[in-house]
Symmetry: C2
Subunit: 193 residues, 2 copies
């Protein structure tokens, strides 16, 4: 006799369809022009299904971002902090200058006038990665590769800021892709003294 | 006999009314909710008057920002580059965490999905100030206070990035106001070697 439909699996199928629909529509039209109606239609679900799982279009987009980034920008630890940050930031700038980056910029744009979404962005996308980065920097401090008198949380801000600054202020893709080359200059201010 | 109305002066009065209307409405409702219709009504002008002088709401907002910043964040030159950058960045973070900063964030948000406005932001708000900053850094290089082997244009990115990073990624007002204290740490990587 045929198995009963598995409600969990059906949910996962709808979730996947919704995430893919939002991503595809954002690539096609630009994030600002994507509506929840269009996502629902493309995904073959009703709007209430989307709103049962997410508070807003921005919330769906944050899940798309995390889902698609996956492990692509995890922090390596080869023992050389400059090399590791350079390769990790190279991966970040690769994402920023591609289709997923355009979607991510759209969401960050929305956050500028939506404080609730901005806090969700911090909690779900930024803070987990800041914690991983801090852990990698802590290891470098313990190895004697970085100074001990500045919190590693502050070092994260100084190291990652130029990437976001050039990207969000439209300095151009070439400038964004030039950020990994700045790591040695920035680290020069963070060396043991 | 009464003088003919001066069209230049009338234009300046309308311009002032339009800029003030957009600023006041943005403070009251938030930039995202401001419409050109509402600006026109508040300023007592027709929509065509606004569109004769500006291409979009964002373009009006950029003029409001430049107009209200005025000389508040001009670059001092006391001869001490760390002191001068610290006081200039203190002025910048004061603006960012106030009403004008909220409007500016709204426009930067809009720029994330509007490349034309983003280029206008760079040309009218950012680039003129980057040139002033570069000139101040060039003077510091000539004084032997900064290294000679890194373009001062790149130094600007490294020095100003944390301010925008904390501000646009909603780290909170206290973190933004903490940026001037980072200047010595950042400059440590930019000293003569």
């Amino acid at each position: 006799m045929p198995a009963q439909p598995n409600p969990e699996r059906r949910n996962e199928r709808s979730r996947r369809a919704i995430l893919d629909a939002l991503y595809d529509l954002a690539v096609e039209k630009g994030y600002a022009k994507v509506t929840i109606e269009a996502v629902a239609t493309r995904a073959g679900v009703g709007k209430p299904t989307i709103y049962r799982w997410w508070a807003s279009k921005g919330a769906v987009a944050l899940e798309v971002i995390n889902d698609r980034i996956g492990t692509a920008i995890d922090f390596p630890n080869t023992g050389d902090i400059v090399a590791d940050l350079t390769s990790q930031i190279t991966a970040v700038t690769g994402i920023m200058t591609g289709d997923l980056g355009r979607l991510y910029r759209g969401v960050i744009g929305e956050c500028q006038t939506d404080p609730k979404l901005a806090q969700e962005l911090r909690a779900t996308v930024l803070e987990p990665r800041i914690r991983f980065c801090t852990a990698r920097l802590d290891a470098a401090v313990a190895d004697g590769q970085l100074r001990t008198d500045l919190p590693t949380r502050t070092m994260v801000d100084v190291i990652y800021a130029p990437v976001y600054y050039r990207w969000l202020l439209s300095a151009g893709d070439a400038e964004v892709r030039g950020c990994p080359a700045l790591v040695p200059e920035i680290i020069a201010g963070l060396l043991p003294r």
